[in-house]
Symmetry: C2
Subunit: 147 residues, 2 copies
DNA sequence: AAAAATATGCAAATCGTTCGCAAAAATTTG
DNA sequence: CAAATTTTTGCGAACGATTTGCATATTTTT
């Protein structure tokens, strides 16, 4: 990650100028270090330096708008409906969510076929897509069997 | 739709006995008549007979557990994060959501390729999946052009 | 270094959704 | 069929995730 200063950073085509403060950088680093997508609450808990919850939310929203991270909604039986954040690595990612241990596993590639067919059929111009797969991870399958 | 009476209805393999009250039937009918998935709020507004919001929520949850309807989460720029409900027709469905007029378009088929590959790669047993496509519907594309 | 702009902490507000409880409706029992 | 029992409904309060207003702190611009 580069250090970003106001008026100096451009994302996508249109220039988005933004400011990378210490706190925001820590938020971003935390997400970059994490293998798992994290909810705002989890980010808050994992921050060593103190950071207000409102600042976490504002920071995450800011980083997302700046294109550094991306998020999705998940309804988890354990934690309820929350937004989860992860770094915006090279390409967009999807996750498998284990309904038993509630961990995420990242997919290597997007299992979605071409969207062109859909666009032709529906007349829609598809701009983004979110895919959530739910199931049971390898570990939890074994654990259940073991019992 | 069949009229369901306690102890007389079975869903899937395991017998789920459930009671179809007048209010619940109206909820279900509303969703069956609607082309679009509806949020609890929209269901509430479209109900001619008065129905408490708590009852709407409870009824929708009940119908979903009974397998009559299904739901998904959507973050819409206009309406925020809400759960949307639609009847569980024969097979499971996915929707395209227009980011301009906020309407839904139903997909004819699931664009997801085989999940087997994913299961092999990840060891995951995939049980369900949710796909949200966002973009611009045909009408809104034309409207924008027209301006 | 001072002035201006922006971010942060704190507390209160918001919004979708859920819950407790008493009354109403549906089901079961005798 | 009426009484007893179970389940649902309405109402208001509670909840949890997220947002907002405002005064203060930090960062940027001058």
């Amino acid at each position: 990650m580069q250090i970003v200063r106001k008026n100096l950073t451009f994302q996508l085509d249109k220039p988005i100028l933004y400011m990378m403060t210490k706190k925001r950088r820590r938020l971003l680093e935390l997400l970059q270090e994490s293998v798992q997508p994290l909810s705002a609450q989890q980010v808050y808990e994992q921050m060593e330096e103190s950071l207000d919850m409102a600042t976490v939310y504002r920071g995450l929203k800011y980083l997302e708008e700046a294109g550094e991270i991306s998020s999705f909604l998940l309804d988890c039986s354990e934690r309820g409906v929350e937004r989860y954040y992860s770094q915006s690595s090279s390409c967009h990612r999807h996750f498998l969510h284990c309904v038993s241990c509630h961990s995420f596993t990242s997919l290597n590639e997007c299992p979605l076929g071409s969207l062109e067919k859909i666009e032709k059929e529906t007349g829609f111009r598809v701009e983004e897509h979110y895919l959530t797969l739910k199931g049971t991870c390898e570990k939890c399958q074994i654990n259940v069997r073991g019992k």
